[in-house]
Each structure stands twice: as structure tokens, then as C-alpha cells.
Symmetry: C2
Subunit: 472 residues, 2 copies
């Protein structure tokens, strides 16, 4: 789906573009290639060309751009690393793509408070490189080297969330710029607060629809004394899931507990040259003091043994550990390589851990029935799993079967008390599930959206099904 800006309000648009070009010079770009790069994210075939790409450098510039666009009714779509998966960065109604790449400063680090303040365009890898040697790290790890601002906007998580929480738990406060051009600081540096409405957590996950996140106050965590990573393989999916559920219920708090089904293992073995069986696997990592890690591993080994798991194959060096997690993070590309030119449609079901086995096994049966190749990989400690459904967009039947499988996977998560989106957000692609998941809550979200962005300039066409027709 590609939409073009409607021709209405073109005078306002032209005026806006002229002002932006005059003020931002080389940082306001009309070049088609650059606009094309900013017309889409990854994952779903949703795109929309912005009329201009602007690269602001500070809060005041963002405020000026937003106030101008708000006055002229010109849409604004914030853009981070472009790694979002549900169409979030597509400029569906044209207008301005606000590229936050120049917001790349780490503003403050406090080892004593174990927090830091970063600009929105800092990527998680850049932040962790910056923190090297401080004894601290930032754990949220969605795989892609996303920007912290983008991760805040989509309420991202990833492999470490089972122990360290998601962006929601790791953000103490924000600076946001409202569509009216006000610069607002939310939250504080305190670990907790009950002072008024929680604006911070309203903006976290709002996908650029309420304003622009420009700075983020983050919790940091101490680098653990001991890190141990291991792989354990299972005769079938049910045994792997049983091990996960039983270990979490026994109080094991792994830092990572990732499930890869046989199809995903096959893809990773081929792509990353891994020496494992083409059978379901858990990729595990334990963090803590040596005694605590040893205790958790012993407990988990006993449980895995009961479920017919293989002996734990430990990564013997930091390099081997990196290789293991790189292979895990490359699972998307591994599936892509498997597909010989096909596209991937992702899913993002997340359910209570008690429902994980049923939901996952029903989904595996559904994949089987469709005849599609759809490897499963999941942050199963959170009850979150993804399919990478391979399909040929040019083959209408196959594309429809892929859409059907993705749709049913999302709805199955809802039927099991879960959510259609554990960590990727809604964007435009998952709007179809909003009513089913939230019911009347969607109307409340829309009222909040209208209250904070009455002109509807912020990332139109996303998240709110009742406002889908709005925008310019």
C-alpha cells in the first residue's frame, strides 16, 4: 500500500516547504532518493513518501518545525533508524519526515544513580559503546540497532526483557515536543513517583502520534559479575515450552530465554553456520553473581532434563557468546535467505505464560495447515513469539494465505488473554486488531489523541482506527 499526499492544502504545504528550506538549508531535503529512504520501515509493505525530510539538531528546532506544521496542517512523521516493523515511519499523508539522526548525544551518565539521559537519535549500540568501562549497561535489545527514541515510541523490548523489563520499565522521564511546539519534560530522575498523570508512560508507545520524543532518561543496570550462555535442544516444541514455563514458575530469572523452532534452527544453521541439530532449541543466558548463576543453571538443567532436553551446550568464551546471540539476532535475515527472494510478514503475539504452550502449539498447527514456511522465534520468557511468514507479494494466493495466518495468530493471542503486539507496536498494519483488543478503549485513545493533537498532524493514519481517514 502506497499513498500519496492529497493535493488539498497545497498552498500551505508549499509555504511550509519554503520556510523549512530557508531555515534548515542542507538539513531540509527534497531529493527523491532521500525521501524514498524515509517512506518505509522494515517488515511490512507499507510506504508513504514524505514531501520533505528535515534533520533538526535541537529541541527548539523540533518545536519550530512542529508549530509551523501545526499552523499549516502539514503532517509530521518522526523517523529514527527506520527499523520499525509495522509501517510506523511511512509518511502516509506526505508532509515532513522528521529524521532524528542528529540527536545523537549522550547528555549525561550518572553511575551513582545508575541512570543516563540521551537524545532520541542515539542508538542502543552507540549507548552501550559509550557505557563501556563504566560497569553499567542498557539492557533493552530489540535486535536491530534501533534509536532509543524509536524504541521509546514503540515501547520496544527484546531478548533481555524477561529479566530487565521493556522500555516501559526502563524509562524514567522524557522530553517531548508537542504538536503546538511546547517543549515538555515529563517524569523525573526518581525511581518512582505518584505526582500526577503518568505522561511519560503515555508517550512511551505512542508511536509519534502525540508529539516527538527528543530526550530520554533511562535506567541503567550493573554489568553482572557472571554471564553464562547456553543452548539446549528438545525433541519437540511442547517439551521446549514446558521447560520454559516450569523454570519461570520455579523462580528462575534468566536474562534471556529464547525459543527457536526446528524451521528457525534450520534457517540459522544455514545462515550463521551453527553446529546444532535442526530441532527446537532454547538459547539461554544467565546473569548474576557466580553462586546465583550456578544455582539457576542447576535448577534449569534439572527441569530441561525432565522434558528430554539435551545437555546444556555452553558458550565457552565471550566471543562464542557473541556469535550465539548474533546468530539469534540474525534470525530474520536467516529466514530471508531461506526464502530465496520472498518477503517476510512478521507477527508479534504475546500471551500470559500459562497460555503459551496452547497458543504456540495451535499456531504451529495453523502454519502446518497453510503449507507456508513460517519459522517461529520467541522471547518466550515474556510469552512473546514471532512468526517470520515467507510469501511472494506477487503471488496473490500466497500473500492472502500469509495475511490470513498473521491475522489468526494475532487474534489467537487475544483469545488467550494476550495482545496482538508484544513489542512491535501498531503502526498502520495492526490497526485492524485495535477494536478486537481494546474495544471501547480505542475511543478513549482517540479522545486523548484529539486532545493533544487536535489538528491531527502527528503521524496520521497510524494506531487509531476511528481516525484513520484523518490527517491532511
Amino acid at each position: 500500500m502506497t499513498t500519496s499526499p492529497s493535493p488539498s492544502c497545497s498552498t500551505s504545504l508549499d509555504e511550509t516547504l519554503a520556510v523549512l528550506l530557508a531555515r534548515f538549508g542542507a538539513r531540509a531535503v527534497l531529493n527523491r532518493t532521500v525521501r524514498e529512504q524515509h517512506s518505509h520501515g522494515e517488515g511490512v509493505p507499507v510506504s508513504g513518501m514524505p514531501d520533505i525530510v528535515v534533520f533538526p539538531e535541537n529541541n527548539e528546532e523540533v518545536a519550530a518545525i512542529l508549530a509551523l506544521c501545526n499552523a499549516n496542517g502539514v503532517p509530521v512523521t518522526p523517523f529514527g533508524a527506520g527499523s520499525s516493523l509495522e509501517g510506523q515511519v511511512a509518511a502516509l499523508a506526505g508532509g515532513v519526515s522528521l529524521d532524528m539522526a542528529r540527536f545523537d548525544h549522550v547528555l549525561a551518565i550518572s553511575p551513582e544513580a545508575m541512570d543516563c539521559r540521551v537524545q532520541a537519535g542515539v542508538t542502543r549500540e552507540a549507548l552501550n559503546a559509550h557505557l563501556r568501562g563504566s560497569g553499567l549497561f542498557f539492557p533493552v535489545d530489540p535486535g536491530a540497532d534501533a534509536t532509543i527514541g524509536g524504541m521509546a515510541s514503540t515501547r520496544a523490548s527484546g531478548t533481555n526483557a524477561v529479566r530487565y523489563g521493556t522500555m516501559r520499565e526502563n524509562i524514567l522521564g522524557l522530553t517531548v515536543v508537542t504538536p503546538q511546539g511546547d517543549i515538555v519534560r515529563t517524569g523525573s530522575r526518581a525511581r518512582k513517583s505518584s505526582a500526577g498523570l503518568d505522561l511519560t508512560h503515555l508517550y512511551v508507545g505512542s508511536e509519534g502520534t502525540l508529539g516527538v520524543i527528543t530526550e530520554i532518561q533511562l535506567r541503567l543496570h550493573g554489568v553482572p559479575d557472571q554471564i553464562s550462555a547456553a543452548v539446549c535442544q528438545f525433541p519437540d516444541l511442547a517439551s521446549a515450552i514446558g521447560t520454559v514455563v516450569a523454570s519461570l514458575q520455579s523462580g528462575v530469572r534468566p536474562a534471556r530465554i529464547e525459543l527457536l523452532d526446528a524451521a528457525q534452527m534450520r534457517a540459522c544453521i544455514l545462515y550463521s553456520k551453527l553446529d546444532y541439530a535442526q530441532a527446537p532449541a532454547l538459547f539461554l543466558e544467565f546473569h548474576g553473581t557466580p553462586a546465583a548463576v550456578a544455582e539457576e543453571i542447576a535448577l534449569m538443567r534439572d527441569i530441561a532434563d525432565e522434558y528430554g532436553g539435551t545437555a546444556f551446550d555452553f558458550a565457552s568464551s565471550p566471543e562464542e557468546r557473541s556469535r550465539l546471540w548474533k546468530a539469534r539476532h540474525n534470525s530474520y535475515h536467516a529466514v530471508m535467505a531461506l526464502g530465496s527472494g520472498r518477503s517476510i510478514m512478521g507477527t508479534d503475539a504475546c500471551v500470559p505464560i500459562s497460555e503459551l504452550a496452547d497458543c504456540l502449539l495451535e499456531t504451529a498447527a495453523d502454519i502446518e495447515e497453510t503449507g507456508l514456511v513460517a519459522p517461529i522465534v520467541g522471547h518466550v520468557g515474556d510469552g512473546n513469539f514471532h512468526l517470520g511468514i515467507l510469501f511472494d507479494p506477487a503471488d496473490a494466493d500466497e500473500a492472502a494465505r500469509a495475511e490470513g495466518l498473521a491475522f489468526r495468530t494475532a487474534r489467537r493471542a487475544l483469545a488467550h488473554g494476550g495482545t496482538c503486539s508484544g513489542e512491535h507496536g501498531i503502526g498502520s498494519h495492526k490497526m485492524v486488531h485495535m477494536e478486537a483488543e481494546h474495544g471501547e478503549g480505542v475511543r478513549l485513545m482517540e479522545r486523548i489523541k484529539r486532545a493533544l493533537d487536535p489538528a491531527g498532524i502527528m503521524n496520521p493514519g497510524k494506531m487509531y482506527p476511528g481516525l484513520a481517514g484523518s490527517g491532511r
Copy 2:
């Protein structure tokens, strides 16, 4: 401060009362004593008499009451256990006090998912009694036997938050009834979600100003294998705080780490017959496997030793442990007893842990200068501490000095990057700090309030300084 309902709109009010009396019979109460009981909480001398107290029993009844009041412009103030400390339950503009006492059912418990769903009137002690034998417990513990609905509404926390988080981290979803009478389910049972605006965390901490929380989906935690409680005393406040900060930075994750200054210890020793010195103390509790607890205690002992702490005095039995925490929880009553008839004004500063020593020591010096008795007790693992300022309301000078000390303590927390309210909320008493803490963010909160409660019926006179004159 006591306000009475204004005489305007009395026809609408009379009609509303008549409809409520007809529908709810004995569950709609005009009796002055009952209304008086519902006119105030604890802690601050803020009260406002409701015109009627209604005891609904299900979501539909709450919806009917709210829709009626919304149509007639009659204020509604939700009421839980009445233990809030900042004037939250005072019916400042009269109208309906909505007593949630009959919402006392635990609706579901899932040991597998480690969650439960409760009605808003269930108290935390009732919930934990219900969970006994399940191997699970609900950790959030604000001292008072508050209702879960009230704790959600004020974003409460307490002694366990340093390890288990506050209400914010332990709520997965809610049922809320909007002022218009819509029954809305927010969140899901999944541990994480990025599906749309985070309505759950917008309502958590909204203090009944956006609607009524009627059901709460809660995370539960496994009862730890080992629980060890101990007391350690210090030559001065600075040494006690130094121990807290150093141990947290070393990765110790105590379940409780409570600071009591010498004045508070004196009060507790007298009130609870404790056998300790009148010197600053840390009350500690460690949860985990036996090995992990032993490791944490050893680490913390070494640190306390460096700061001149006494040997750890361990509670040798569960009974002794209960006695210790009962004494801690009775610290408010202990201060009350010390005051021989005086009132207590509380404060609720919360700062980043790196600022705790400076903020606390500056505050101790400020207390000294005022000449007031104001024992300090704190959830210092979160950077949160309270003064219990004793004052005689009839002594205008002393009351003014108490207000001055409380005001400066809140503002000092802001100057240290913290919040005026770690866990008690804003109510009416802390509205004076909202602009200083949130700046332009207050305007965003007010826009959200107006969007969700355009008639302004929900708990008027609280939280939003710009709307303070509104209500009936």
C-alpha cells in the same frame, strides 16, 4: 479546610439523590455520621462532606451512577479504605462518595501465569490471606491495609518496592468506568504489550479524576525460599545512607531497606517496646534462595561494617520478623503517640539514589532549624523518605512552621532531580507543587482530564491546579 457543596444546581442534585435513593435503597446513605466518615482520609486536615454515600456492587451499577451524575453535573469521589494521605477522598464539591467496599471479590487467580484479577475494594491483606498456601504473594505494601483500587489510583508503593516495584510495575490491566458510564477493559494478561496508548498506566495514579477503577489485573510473585530480616544501627544518618547507596550500587537487591532516624527510633522504641538504641537504623529484609540470600547478607555486612554499623541483629523467627515490620508500619502511630495530641503533617520526597545523602542531610538540618519534632522514615532503596512533622493545628505559628518545612522538603526533592510525591499522590494538598515539578506538563494533564471528563465530575478540586476552581 472544609468546603461545603455550593447551593447551585441543587435541583439536579436533588433529582440525583432521589434517583440514587430509589435505586440503591439501604446502599445509598444520607446519614450524617456516614457522610462525615467519608469526608476525609488520613494525614492532612482536608475534608469535604459528600451529599450521599453510595455502595455499588458491580460495574454496571458504577456505570449507572456515573452516567447519572455526569448528566446532572454532580461530583463523584471514589472511596476505598480512606487511608490516602493527601486529601484524595475528600468530597470537596459535595456530591456522591462512591464507596467501593462491596467490590471485595478476588475474581481469579492463576498460579501458572502468576497473576490474579481482583475487584477494587479488596484490601492488600485480604488478597494475601486469600493467596496463603498458593506459594504466591502480592508484594506492594504501603503500610495501611489499603484497597487495591485505592493503591492503583494513587500509584502506591511501600517497603517492598525496591525489589518488587510499585503498583505501576505490578498492574497488567484494569477495568475502568468512564464518567460517561462506559465500562472499559485496559491492558491484557500479557506481561508486556506495545498495542496502542498505555491506558492502564494513565489510570494508575490518576486518583479518581478520570473515572473509577473497578477491577485490577495484578502480577503476583513467588514466596521466596528464604526470608531473612535484620536491623543494623549507625553512629549517624550519613553512615546509614552511605551503606544504602553503596550496597545498591554493588548490586544488592534487598526486598526491604528502610531507614529510621534517631527520632523515629525513639518513637518506635517507646511505642512498640523495641530493644534497640536511639540511633539511626536500617531495617532490612532479604528474599531469595538460601545461597543468594547468604551472598547478599555477606556483601551488605561488609559495607555496613565500613560505615561503622553494628552487627546485624537478625529476627530469629517468623514471629519476630512480623514484630519488626509491625513496629516499622506503626511508625506513624508511634510518632502520633510521641506528639501527645499533636497532628502529623507528612512529606513524601523521592530523589535519585545519588542525591539521597545530600537531600536527606539538608532536610535533617532544616528540621533542626525549625525546632519541630519531625522523625524521618524512608524507603531509602527507592530514594523515598517521609517526615512525620508534629504540630498543633491550633498553634498558628507552629502550623505555619510545619507547612514551611513540608513545602521546603518537597521543593528540595525537585531541586535534586526528584519528585514531591514518591507514593502518596497529589490530592489537594500537593497541588501547590504541580507547576514546579511538571511545568508545561500540567497543561497536558489538564487537556487529558478535560478530554476524558469534560463535565469535570470526577473528584474535582484535586491534582490539576488549572482546574481547581471547576467542579460543580
